[in-house]
Symmetry: C2
Subunit: 139 residues, 2 copies
């Protein structure tokens, strides 16, 4: 499989996935994986999430922005691993962009709630998996 085909199939997988696994590195050097709702993406290069400012991952990413975003389709044996850095965004434009109806339940102070934070992941490289096929690509 060509890198172009792998990136196309990987983008299809990412776009139809509501959930992504975000891995960070904790203060003791262990990777930490958790499921996150994929909010928006711009191709495979940029993926946005929102999270609680008080969450443990914010501490990890403040100390070490290196991260992995992984999408998986268990039934089709497809996976997409993206590796890059996460920026923690607190500007008004990003906050408004990611804000969704119903978020008041989680952030009672609205879009300016100090516990509401936006994460922007920028991928450097990726690997697409389909059954026994693995294809690496740069981004």
């Amino acid at each position: 499989m060509s890198a172009e085909r792998a990136m196309k199939e990987g983008l299809d997988l990412a776009t139809r996935s509501q959930i992504a696994m975000l891995a960070t590195v904790d203060a003791d050097g262990y990777p930490n994986t958790r499921a996150m709702i994929r909010m928006e993406n711009d191709g495979l290069k940029t993926i946005w999430f929102s999270t609680n400012t008080s969450s443990r991952k914010i501490g990890h990413l403040t100390a070490n922005p290196r991260a992995c975003v992984y999408f998986v389709d268990f039934e089709k044996w497809m996976g997409l691993m993206l590796v890059g850095e996460v920026e923690i965004l607190r500007d008004a434009e990003s906050r408004k962009r990611l804000w969704r109806k119903g978020y008041e339940r989680y952030y009672p102070n609205g879009v300016d709630d100090p516990d509401y934070t936006v994460l922007r992941f920028t991928a450097r490289r990726g690997r697409y998996y389909h059954a026994l096929t693995r294809v690496d690509f740069e981004l």
Copy 2:
């Protein structure tokens, strides 16, 4: 939710999951996540996988045994994160223990195929997620 309850629900999730996400740390310090078939487990403390000796994760784990095993049920909003170390096992007993019918397709030389390797993950601590609940525990 008590730690005991979280560990019980987490074990239920792990035991019914055929797939786990294994995260390692690569030579550049980035976490790398991929789906793996969960082969066996002994409670939450020990989880066995098998893999190709030539796979990239073996290089990561040889240099840095720190790893994360993550189980997820997307429909039920449940997740289990376990953090610990992976040992790369090449002894005959472990190889025989993890060998499964049909592996000859992937490892033509059988149970002694040099590309067949067993991984044993030992958890130090965990976090169980269910909807907005998060419970940490030591192992």
